[in-house]
Symmetry: C2
Subunit: 497 residues, 2 copies
C-alpha cells in the first residue's frame, strides 16, 4: 500500500504573490474554486500579508470579503493562511490582545490552518498566535524558516521543532522561501524532526523553485516521512514560484507514495490559470529561469530586485554587486537572521546604506531595532560595535525580553482611530485592517464602496497590443520585391500577416 502524501495548493496565495506581484483579483479565482475544492488537496493556501495588502492597496477589495468568498466556494477544503507571528500581517509587533482578536476574526471568517512564522525564528514571537489558534480549535502550524549559515545546523532546526511541539503545534512547517533547501538537508531535517517530535507530528514542507533543485528536495523530504508538501498548479509555477502540482503527482508514480489528487481536475485548474495569467503580464516576475547563484549569495530573488530598485532610485544602479557582497556581512553582524519579510528588507536596505554611505555610518531605524533586540533574538550573537552604534543612533537600550512584552494594551486606541475614518464600518475586521496597514486603510475605507478594481487587462487587450500599429497595412496583397543588400540581390516576398 503506497503511503499518501498530502498537498497544499498555493496558487491562490503564494503562487500569484511570487509570480504576479500578488495582483490577482478575487474575480479571477472564483471561477475555479469548485474544482480546487474537489481536487483532493489537504489545504488551500489563500490568505496572507501580501494578499491582504494588495487587496486594499491595489484592488479595492476587502480582504475579509475575499476570505468569506473562499469559505463559501470551498466548503470541503481547509483554508490556510500565512501569519507573521506577533507581526500578524503587518510590519511591527502587536500587543497580545490584538493578536488574539486577529486570530479570532480570521477563524470566525473561515480560516482553518494558521501557518505561523517569525522572521528571526524566535519562538517567543510565535507563542501568542499559536495559543490563540489552539483556543479557536483551528489547526496551529509552527514554522521553521529555513536558511543557511554556519549556525543553522540540522540540530539547531530540530531543537526549534521541539520547542514548537512543546507549544502544542498540530504540525511543523519547514518554510524554504529562498529555495535553499537541498535534497540531503531536506531528508535529514524531516528525519530529525520525526525522530525528535515523534512520527505522529505532521511535517509540512514549503519550498520555492527558484534554484531548480527543490522538487528533488520534496522527493527526499517525502522519503524521510514528510506528510504534506506545498505546490502550485503548473500554470502558476516555477521561476521564483513553486514546483508544479502535477509534477509532484507524476513523480511519485510507482515510488511507494501517492497523492489523493484528481488529475482531471488539476487539468481544469491549470487551464483556468493559464487563461488568467497573461492578463497580469505587466506584473510578471522578470526572472523565470533557474538561479543557482542564490546558493552562494543566499539572497532570495525578490530581495535582489528590491535592492536594485533602491539603488536605481539613488542613481547607483551599477553597485548591485557590491551590495550583494555586503548582504552576507550585514547578516552576520546581525546574528544570522533568516532572510524573509521583514528581515530581508531590513538587512537588504542596510546593505544598500553601507555601500552608499560607508559601513554603518547611517543605520535605518529598523536595522537599529533589529540590532537592539526589538524584533526578537537571533541565532547568533550580534556584533557589539554595531550594537553600540545602534544604541547611539536610536537613543535607546537593547532589550532581551520578548518585544511584545513591552507593549501596552492598544486595541481601544486602534478602534477609536479606525472608526473615526471615513468609510470604516466599525467592525473588528476594519479595525484590524487599520491596525496592520494604517497608511493604506484610510484610502481603502473611503473608496471601498466603489467595489473591486481589477488591475488585470481585459481578455481582449493583450491580443490588441500584440497586433501592431493601426492594423492598416500599406501592403495589402502579396508583392514581390528585388532587394539589393550590399552587393547581393534577393527576391523578397511581402504580404500582410
Amino acid at each position: 500500500m503506497p503511503r499518501t502524501v498530502e498537498v497544499t495548493e498555493l496558487a491562490l496565495r503564494d503562487g500569484h504573490q511570487s509570480l504576479l506581484a500578488t495582483r490577482m483579483a478575487t474575480e479571477d479565482m472564483v471561477g475555479i474554486c469548485e474544482e480546487i475544492d474537489q481536487a483532493g488537496y489537504w489545504s488551500v493556501e489563500c490568505w496572507g500579508g501580501a494578499t491582504y495588502d494588495s487587496c486594499i492597496r491595489f484592488l479595492n477589495e476587502d480582504p475579509w470579503e475575499r476570505l468569506r468568498t473562499f469559505r463559501k466556494l470551498m466548503p470541503n477544503s481547509r483554508l490556510q493562511m500565512l501569519l507573521r507571528g506577533q507581526n500578524l500581517l503587518g510590519y511591527r509587533h502587536y500587543e497580545d490582545s490584538v493578536v488574539d482578536r486577529f486570530v479570532d476574526k480570521a477563524a470566525e471568517n473561515g480560516m482553518d490552518v494558521f501557518r505561523v512564522f517569525d522572521a528571526l525564528n524566535d519562538v517567543r514571537n510565535l507563542r501568542q498566535a499559536l495559543a490563540a489558534v489552539k483556543r479557536t480549535g483551528k489547526h496551529a502550524e509552527g514554522t521553521i524558516c529555513y536558511t543557511v549559515s554556519p549556525l543553522h545546523t540540522i540540530e539547531a532546526f530540530v531543537e526549534m521543532a521541539a520547542q514548537l511541539r512543546d507549544l502544542g503545534c498540530d504540525s511543523i512547517c519547514i518554510k524554504d522561501m529562498a529555495a535553499l533547501l537541498k535534497p540531503q538537508p531536506a531528508y535529514d531535517l524531516v528525519r530529525g524532526i520525526k525522530e525528535t517530535c515523534g512520527d505522529d507530528m505532521l511535517v509540512h514542507v514549503h519550498v520555492h523553485s527558484t534554484t531548480g533543485v527543490t522538487l528533488v528536495s520534496l522527493m527526499k523530504a517525502i522519503e524521510a516521512g514528510a506528510d504534506i508538501v506545498d505546490t502550485s498548479i503548473s500554470s502558476l509555477s516555477l521561476g521564483p514560484g513553486h514546483n508544479p502540482t502535477e509534477a509532484l503527482v507524476e513523480m511519485l508514480e510507482g515510488t511507494g507514495y501517492e497523492t489523493r489528487l484528481d488529475k482531471d481536475r488539476l487539468v481544469k485548474i491549470k487551464e483556468h490559470f493559464a487563461g488568467v495569467r497573461p492578463r497580469y503580464a505587466e506584473f510578471e516576475s522578470k526572472f523565470i529561469g533557474v538561479e543557482s547563484q542564490i546558493f552562494e549569495s543566499q539572497i532570495p530573488g525578490g530581495m535582489i530586485s528590491n535592492m536594485e530598485s533602491q539603488l536605481k532610485q539613488q542613481g547607483a544602479g551599477d553597485r548591485v554587486k557590491e551590495v550583494m557582497q555586503e548582504v552576507p556581512k550585514v547578516r552576520k553582524d546581525a546574528g544570522f537572521p533568516p532572510l524573509v519579510t521583514p528581515s530581508s528588507q531590513i538587512v537588504g536596505t542596510q546593505a544598500v546604506f553601507n555601500v552608499l554611505m560607508g559601513r554603518y555610518k547611517s543605520l535605518t531605524g529598523e536595522f537599529a531595532d533589529l540590532m537592539l533586540g526589538y524584533y526578537g533574538k537571533t541565532i547568533g550573537p550580534r556584533d557589539p560595535e554595531v550594537v553600540e552604534a545602534a544604541k547611539e543612533q536610536a537613543k535607546k537600550e537593547s532589550i532581551t525580553e520578548r518585544p511584545a512584552d513591552l507593549l501596552k494594551p492598544e486595541w481601544d486606541e486602534l478602534r477609536k482611530r479606525a472608526v473615526a475614518l471615513d468609510g470604516c464600518n466599525g467592525s473588528d475586521e476594519d479595525v484590524l485592517t487599520f491596525a496592520m496597514f494604517p497608511q493604506v486603510a484610510p484610502k481603502f475605507f473611503a473608496s471601498r464602496d466603489q467595489g473591486p478594481i481589477s488591475v488585470a487587462k481585459s481578455a481582449a487587450e493583450p491580443a490588441k497590443e500584440a497586433v501592431a500599429g493601426d492594423g492598416k497595412a500599406p501592403v495589402t496583397s502579396r508583392v514581390e520585391y528585388k532587394v539589393k543588400i550590399g552587393d547581393k540581390t534577393r527576391k523578397v516576398l511581402v504580404e500582410p500577416a
Copy 2:
C-alpha cells in the same frame, strides 16, 4: 568518499535545438568554448542531425567546419554527437559503406563519442554504425529510446541493453526525448542494466525537462548507479529543453555523489548564453512551462507543434485534440514505435491524415514504409489490415530483413552527383552533405563562399529596405508582415525609422 557523477553538456546541440529551433550560429559559441573545455565535463554534445541541417539550410555554415572549430577550441574535451543509426543524419536508410564513410569522416574531423540510436529501437539498425565507431577507436554509445506503452517494460529495455552490450558498446544511453522517464522507472531501468550488463557498463542518462519531473529522475538514476547524465547550462535549459547543469551540481551536495564541475566556470558559461539567447528570441519555443499532460498523450511537445502547423495549413487548426487522440491509436497500429525523429513525424502526419480524410483512407508513403517494415521492426505486431492497405497503396510487399540489406552500394553514385554540383569541393564531407540533404546541399554549396549568415541579427532590416525602397516610406505606423526570403518565411515588424 562521494562517487563522481559525470556530466555531458548539451548547450551546443540539444539545448539550442530544443529551445531556439537549432538556430544558434557558431560565432555565438566560440567565445565560450574555452570555459566549457575547462569546466570538467565528461563530454560536450555539439553535433547532430538538426544542427547539421540548420547549418546548411539557415546559417550558410559548413557543419564540418563547425566540428573542426570545436575540435580546435576544446582540445581537452570529448566531443559528442547524436547519430540516427543507419539513417546517419538524414531521413532514409543508407547503405553500409556510406555509414562507414560518415563515421570515419566524423572521427577524422574530431568526434569522440557517437551516441547511436534508432527510432524503432531496432538494434539491427545500429549494428553497422556501432561497428564503424569501434573500428575508429572512438567511443560507441548504444542508445535505448525510452517510451511508454504496454509492451515497453523494464525487462524489454534491459533485454535491448544486453543486445547493445553484445554489439560491443562502450556505454549505454537511456534517451528520454519526451520527458516521460519518471523517477521510479529511471531507478529500475538503470539498476536492471547494471545487473544485466555488469556494474562496469557505463550508463548515460539523457532526459528532457518538459514534464517537470526529470531532475528527480536523474537523482534516482544516479542512486541506481548511472555514471553520466546530460544537462544544459541554466540559461539554455528547462521547458522543452533539459535540466540545468548548475541545479544538478547543487542537488548532489551532501548526498554521497558529486560532479567534477567547476562552479565558477559554470557561471561564466551561464552568463555567456544568457547574453546570446535574446538575440534568437524569434525562434524561442513558445512553450516554456511544464506540461504534465504529455504523460497521458505520450506525444512529445515538438510533435504537437508540428501537427498544429500541419492542421493550420489545411485550415483545420481546430482539430488538434482529435489528432492528439488519434496518435495513440496510430502508434498502436504501427506496433508501438517510440516517438522520435523520424517516427514521431511519420506517426503524427498519419494521424493528421486520418482525422482529415478518414482513418487510413490515405497513407503517407513514409507511413506505408513503416507498416511494411522498411524502417525496421517494432516491438509490437503491426495491425494486419493496415499492413494490407499499405501494401496496396505502396504497391510493394512487407519485409522482415534489415532494411539496409536491400540497398545496393551507392557511394560512387552519390559522389558523382555531388561533385557535379556548383560549389561542391569534391571532399567526402561534401558528398556526405549531399547524401544526407540532397534538396538543401545544392543551394548551400553554391552559396558557401559567402560565409556564415547569422539569423540572430535583426531580421527586420531587409524588409524595411524592401518596403521603403522607393524612398517614399509608405509605412507610417507599426505593421507586421510575413516576409519570404529564399525559402524562409518570417514575421517582420516594420515601423518608421
